[in-house]
Symmetry: C2
Subunit: 247 residues, 2 copies
DNA sequence: ACGACGAGTTGTGCTATACGCAACTGGAGG
DNA sequence: CCTCCAGTTGCGTATAGCACAACTCGTCGT
């Protein structure tokens, strides 16, 4: 993939010099100027490079900033939450996940298995339904009302007989979660799987993720939920602080 | 440049989904998984993509953030300085430039021609010598002493008989510029070219750029320097404020 | 005005690099 | 143990990338 490698070099040179012409780039790359031009043209058409106002000079484009925006936020969250998740998993002995809201699903961005965990599903990268997971409920509950209603207008798929499929019941569950500051699920995604989740807040105080503890219902019993939620809330507060929340 | 276009698509998909496996990327790109793997491998080797901890999942890498850092700062400066430069050029009737310090040169990152300007050199993207330009003197004067001395240790090329080539004289000139809050050149880069420059400060109060006004010596006479400097300083203060300086 | 120069841009034939097939490796689960 | 599936590697082929050469356009000097 020589041409891809060269394209990356184009980006690096532009980052270093700010603006460059095609002939200059060709010299630095050690290629013919027509090759340099074509490399830059592709990057230009995709927004990673853009032409400055005059005479064909090129510089890095806004597309790079956009990509970085996606990267930095997520790297911050995964990185900053890691030690907290590890500590919580050790405390509670169950699996700990961090999830974000993405395209109507709760996407798990990190996971730490608890010491009691033998064989648990790897949730990282997986989309889970908002209405049937504790993380999903926290994320749903903390969205502005119009978005919440929009997300809930989708079919509430039944996964088990315990799954909440009635919008009215779900709405009440979410309101209770807001009051309590945590949400839970019991046998709603899978029989025998329980979970508790709390919100993680970003710089502006909005809920940007959910921290959840999940385990088999014979170990993570409902009478433990409140205590687990309290431990998780302590962890979530620390993560929130680490990613910039000052409340 | 099909493969470069595909590589950009890889970055976009990862920005959208956060983490993806090779097989998943191959499906989205519509290519064989060996092709997807090779695309990702090149990007990985250059830091634009990185492997997450487990099972070959990939996500955007820190190299993207680094590239964006170079972009965003410069885009901010060019964008935020534009209206101020236009106003100043209209006020003074001469050419206005913004320059940054890069690899021992003053690099012009934007330029607005004044109404009296007939045919002036396009300085954007061009490297100009620090010691023989007003922007260069401002940038030099406002660097920490070790860097200043290092930059001045290079040969001070003579461009005209008026160019300052003696380090002692240049040092005195820079000290005076610090006291006055502006620097100037008279026939030092080119016979018949005069200029005045003032510092632009960033978020942390450091000088990050210079705002200069240049014109032919028959119009931009030395007795106008102080007034032009005052107008430029007003503009620079506004630019500084726009890019985050709160002093 | 014209011509020279140099930067960016476009067309085209050739071949080297990118592509997909197929096999391999390793981990998870039954 | 075997099966499955995801990631990774080897290799032959053809297509995409490359450089040459020509074109376009703007600037500058006469």
């Amino acid at each position: 993939m020589q041409s891809v490698d060269r394209a990356v070099s184009v980006l690096e040179f532009l980052a270093l010099h700010g603006e460059m012409g095609i002939t200059e780039l060709a010299a630095e790359l050690g290629v013919h100027k027509s090759t340099a031009f074509r490399l830059v043209s592709v990057l230009d058409s995709r927004g990673l490079v853009e032409q400055t106002g005059d005479r064909g000079k090129y510089r890095l484009g806004f597309g790079i900033v956009r990509l970085a925006g996606a990267t930095a936020a997520q790297m911050d969250l995964s990185r900053e939450s890691r030690p907290v998740c590890e500590r919580l998993a050790a405390q509670v002995g169950e699996t700990v996940n961090v999830a974000i809201l993405d395209e109507g699903y709760a996407i798990n961005v990190s996971q730490v298995r608890g010491s009691a965990t033998v064989a648990t599903i790897n949730w990282v990268g997986q989309r889970t339904p908002l209405h049937a997971t504790s993380s999903g409920k926290v994320l749903l509950a903390n969205q502005p009302a119009p978005l919440r209603e929009e997300l809930m207008a989708r079919p509430l798929t039944m996964y088990t007989p315990r799954t909440i499929t009635d919008p009215g019941l779900l709405r009440a569950e979410l309101d209770a979660a807001l009051v309590a500051g945590w949400a839970s699920t019991g046998d709603e995604l899978e029989i025998g799987l329980n979970a508790v989740a709390v919100p993680i807040r970003g710089m502006d105080g909005n809920v940007v993720a959910a921290l959840s503890v999940s385990g088999p219902s014979y170990r993570l019993t409902t009478d433990r939920f409140a205590e687990v939620a309290r431990l998780a809330a302590d962890g979530a507060k620390e993560i929130s602080h680490r990613i910039g929340h000052t409340g």
